[in-house]
């Protein structure tokens, strides 16, 4: 099972990225757990200084942008 982590403190962009991550999981047909991480300490522990950011299985894939479901889907396959 993939773990998708959405890093962001809760603004509309972060929410959009979370929705896109959920959509990507559906599109990929992959069992996935979508986590939203809003704790600043946890976010910076990823080495991330700009949000929103996205990590898959603990590895940061994108920073400072809202990826589309298709873009996220590519990380799940």
């Amino acid at each position: 099972m993939k773990v998708i982590q959405v890093l962001g403190t809760g603004c509309p962009k972060c929410e959009k990225l979370k929705k896109n991550a959920e959509e990507a999981a559906r599109l990929a047909g992959t069992e996935a757990l979508v986590e939203k991480i809003t704790d600043i300490g946890q976010i910076t522990a990823f080495g991330v200084m700009m949000t929103p950011a996205l990590a898959v299985d603990g590895e940061v894939k994108a920073v400072g942008k809202v990826l589309s479901p298709q873009e996220i889907k590519a990380f799940l396959q």
């Binding site: 559906r26 996935a32 939203k36 704790d39």
Partner: protein, 178 residues
């Protein structure tokens, strides 16, 4: 500690996400704790957060693309000046000092943050250009480069005084986009 993690499980073939009881409780708890005052922007020196008039609640939490500053932070006096100048620039809000070692170690989060930067400034103490070379070898080619030796600061002969740090910080600030 209040939960800061929303979890929703997506099962293969499921049309919609299924939140299990425990996960739903975690989500509800997280939602409840996500009042605007609980969700500050990342508290970095240059974090730009718009706040609602008359209140402390941020209306935009996402931090914008940053101007990142990397210093060689070498062992010599000039390395110390480069490091202190980068920290000074960071404190003054000209940019954000970031970890050159993270780039050298190809730490994914640091690499992706660097890729997303609006501008990058590399500060080297001596002509060995360790900061510059570290960035180049990591694939970053678009950055400003400041070398202290080009400012007449010679390795081993330039104590890390406040004046020297201020001089480098001033030059670095001028090289970063407004």
């Amino acid at each position: 500690m209040a939960s800061k993690v929303n979890r929703r499980r997506f099962l293969k073939g499921a049309g919609m996400g299924i939140a299990a009881g425990a996960a739903a409780k975690v989500a509800a708890s997280a939602m409840a704790s996500e009042s605007p005052s609980d969700a500050p922007a990342i508290p970095l020196p240059n974090a730009q957060t718009k706040r609602a008039a008359g209140g402390t609640a941020p209306t935009v939490c996402c931090t914008p693309a940053s101007r990142l500053i990397f210093a060689c932070s070498g062992a010599a006096d000039v390395g110390k000046i480069a490091d202190l100048a980068a920290r000074k620039l960071s404190e003054e809000g000209a940019g954000k000092m970031f970890c050159l070692a993270g780039v050298g170690g190809r730490v994914k989060g640091i690499m992706e943050t660097t890729k997303a930067a609006q501008a990058i400034l590399a500060i080297d103490g001596c002509p060995l250009h360790c900061a510059r070379n570290t960035l180049l070898q990591a694939g970053f080619t678009k950055f400003e480069h400041l070398c202290l030796s080009d400012m007449g600061m010679e390795k081993g002969k330039t104590p890390a005084t406040e004046q020297a740090v201020a001089k480098v910080a001033k030059r670095g600030k001028a090289m970063l986009p407004k």
